[in-house]
Symmetry: D2
Subunit: 311 residues, 4 copies
Amino acid sequence: MHLKKVKHIETKKGMSVNDLVKEMENSGVMGAGKIAHAVNIAEEAIKTENVKVWFGLAGAMVPGGMKQIIIDMLENGWIDLFVTTGANLTHDLVEALGYNHYQGKANVSDAELHKQGVDRMYDSYMPNEVYEGLEDFFDKNFEELQKKGKMNIKEFLWAVGELVPEGVPSILRTCAKKKIPIFCPAISDSGIGLMIWGHLAKGKKLEVDVFDDLKEILDLAWNDKNKYCVWYCGGGVPKNFIQQAMQFAPEAAEYGIQITMDRPEPGGSSGANLSEGISWGKMNEKGNFVDVISDTTIALPIIVAALKDRV
Amino acid sequence: MHLKKVKHIETKKGMSVNDLVKEMENSGVMGAGKIAHAVNIAEEAIKTENVKVWFGLAGAMVPGGMKQIIIDMLENGWIDLFVTTGANLTHDLVEALGYNHYQGKANVSDAELHKQGVDRMYDSYMPNEVYEGLEDFFDKNFEELQKKGKMNIKEFLWAVGELVPEGVPSILRTCAKKKIPIFCPAISDSGIGLMIWGHLAKGKKLEVDVFDDLKEILDLAWNDKNKYCVWYCGGGVPKNFIQQAMQFAPEAAEYGIQITMDRPEPGGSSGANLSEGISWGKMNEKGNFVDVISDTTIALPIIVAALKDRV
Amino acid sequence: MHLKKVKHIETKKGMSVNDLVKEMENSGVMGAGKIAHAVNIAEEAIKTENVKVWFGLAGAMVPGGMKQIIIDMLENGWIDLFVTTGANLTHDLVEALGYNHYQGKANVSDAELHKQGVDRMYDSYMPNEVYEGLEDFFDKNFEELQKKGKMNIKEFLWAVGELVPEGVPSILRTCAKKKIPIFCPAISDSGIGLMIWGHLAKGKKLEVDVFDDLKEILDLAWNDKNKYCVWYCGGGVPKNFIQQAMQFAPEAAEYGIQITMDRPEPGGSSGANLSEGISWGKMNEKGNFVDVISDTTIALPIIVAALKDRV
Amino acid sequence: MHLKKVKHIETKKGMSVNDLVKEMENSGVMGAGKIAHAVNIAEEAIKTENVKVWFGLAGAMVPGGMKQIIIDMLENGWIDLFVTTGANLTHDLVEALGYNHYQGKANVSDAELHKQGVDRMYDSYMPNEVYEGLEDFFDKNFEELQKKGKMNIKEFLWAVGELVPEGVPSILRTCAKKKIPIFCPAISDSGIGLMIWGHLAKGKKLEVDVFDDLKEILDLAWNDKNKYCVWYCGGGVPKNFIQQAMQFAPEAAEYGIQITMDRPEPGGSSGANLSEGISWGKMNEKGNFVDVISDTTIALPIIVAALKDRV
């Protein structure tokens, strides 16, 4: 066998995250090895000019403290296309309006929290009053949004992002400002969707087309000048929507990182190993992929901190 | 303590599924106890006249052999409202067009499968040629769909379901025939979405509104004559879309069943215990809920087989 | 491809567990397919004369209501060699002394339970007073055990099992009565171990050798007249101790069933797929194995109920 | 609510692991928050004079690259008592004899590996020839071990550790050298056990008592001058053996860290949240505990690297 030896990880006082990741690379197996592999893939994808990074983010990642990391990645040009859930965008907007999420507990009385007006996402809390703020925001800005006329969801989200004032850290605002394509196919399944419904219920109009974003993302994928790196934190629609587009990329995805705690065996897309995508023509059979089995809030900060030393 | 004793499960030659579930109820703990609890909740919800069962289905459940069970539940009037992923509806339509899924393996060469034109979902296979069948179907029927004029997604899905010939077992057809509201917020994230995109790319029109389904489901929830039982197999958008609507049900959901392998600790909605919904006002704090930690393809057939003896 | 089609599972009023398992076999994929595969493997192993079933049981399976199923399997001659944890044997003995486990809840105040003298295993409870009963039992019987002289752990467990009166359902008693080899390498890590320690602390003697059981199990494995079916519910020492012995079986294990919720990716033995054992020479590369990803309290009763129709 | 806000994690070029952990502490929720909590608990436990850290290590942690981290912790006096599996000690000894583990792959032909004489632990490989080295080692040293006369397992392991030459990095050697109590109740379930069996099979004698270690660990726990911090990487016997001893600590364990990927719901000890131990009197109800849901090879290096800045 011409294999690399497992070199045991050594830790040192004051060591940098990047140095720890290099130790993990030399160890090379199990979870640690996957973290290091992910950093190497991301480094190459970001540094290689014609590689586009398409990033799918699912799970309660704004309540989970990941917002600034995502904004940094968008600002640094590390993400070329972004797909997420309506929930994350709602939480992002809620914070842009001045609200916060709070450090809570998981093993609590949800009836008591309900009485106190607190919404729980595992051990992260959000005051339910944010919905009033969201209502005010959309009351104030609904006409502005209507003026845009018929939109697809991406255009709608950019329009919302433009309403976030400069200087406020926000995923929506950053995507709008930098014109990074942002997709959220199930936007109606979110607080933002609810707010729009509130206005429609009063007879107002807002035309947002279901299928037009699909046209946009597929046009972007169908481009033989680019190579693609897919990067998923969690599964769900964000992953699947990008995977679907990769079927139209001439060489499919040649780089891939997946961070999830979902299991592959029950057969759902969220837990499926990236290699499964090879059978579909979504991933290139010679591509460089890694499945990191980890809570995103642990793995993503390590990966991004290490990348900051390298890129 | 006035607690029930754990009575050890006894199995017998020829025993019925329902009798095994009753043994599980007397045992009452861990996974077995949850299965029995789920059957009890479903039995009460289905038998109680004004309780509406809202069912969310995620994961590769048609490739996983669950189609007939879902159709039975819909036909029997056990499901009053149905939300699923675009993938499941695409697989349902694919089978309606005469194709099949196949028993495969998970530990295989995906490159080899790709060469053979086989798409893999863990250990279930689908020939990639189904896409030609789908294309033919939508080519043939696109004008018919256009004639419906502006639709929401539910109406679009009913229209597709009506195109499935009588006698063909199909979730889409059953929902259309029985006018069971069927929602799929992220329909663009699916093979069906791709087919529509194919026609839009050629300049054709099909107007499907993003937010209008939200209005429909919320109007249905906002009904003080009904009580609600939420039933989730998997998480993702199907769960979240129903949970969101439950915030508008006067008493929130008073019954709840969740079957999933996702974990709660990473904080995403898919793995969140149902009780978390109490804090949000999605679940009633006095409700009767159970979280079954199981592969749906194991738990759902047991639950439904037992229910057939009881309802 | 010459593959079998996924035939969708059909449920029927009054259907037997075995008929449901046959439906799962025709579906053939994901969790359901694995359950059916496990029943087929077990059926063949039990029916084939020279195949010995070596069964490893870990996890809180007596508190979880599995005791009678295990006793049935032992009584029926379906298990030829049994390895488990000290905890399961302690819980078995506790029930043999007249105590019970109780249906509890997982989301409770453990401080309150402690005050009430209740020990919790997820949602199964045990009154802490069982330890007094255990003490009485070993006080009364210690001399009897000493009389046996130097023992290995198997002999010690048979000796304890002989002290359980006839007619009392007990795993220990059944193994002793039927002279089924029962191993528990980490017996000191259990309530039974604590009781022995209590007597040693008072200066009494009981000689139980660490390594002698290893000799026994390896001698049993090293037998070219037998073939082996390994069957694991949970991992830990019970699995590993049998796997280790299989390295000495002339053809390694040719049948294998594993039921666990542990994941393979972190690298531990408990979650490792059975196929990994092929590399070690523990499993035969042409063997018939299945990894069932399920809570044992769900999967095992189904499998055993179906087997009762077949064997 | 007087709760701390979720402050979004910020990463920086060149940032230290400890600084990243501090960011995780300010975020405070989900997986990241648990990592930071674990570092705080460990820091306090290590710095507080009369707090004893009892460390349980399960899983393939030497093949997984964790050996040097464990040795460092032992050398630094961060671990006062160590319990592990026979497998980890065997892998430790194997490396002390000059062999290595190798970076492999999980999705491979185990039949092919077997042919090449390679044993697989997920994606870490070990050449099977190590067993010859182990045999030589015990052949050479068996008399030396016999000379010790009757031993308990701890004494046996110290005796083995003393045979490892100075300067060779080894967990066994470090425990022996520093007289750190090391327990391995199921030592017979390991390669080391097999080697001893090999000599017993030839009629040699080695007396190692099963229950005597229990006496040692309980005497250590039963000490009202000490407080205890339990620290588990993985579950199994190492966790349970320490937990059992904590029932005898006057105030039970007042600090606790658990790193595991096992789930609590199936009811086994390995996945049980630490708080469950409160009901048993193993954990102090006012104690400071955290359950980190993570692959140990990811979480442990981060925690230890951060601790090196603090202790």
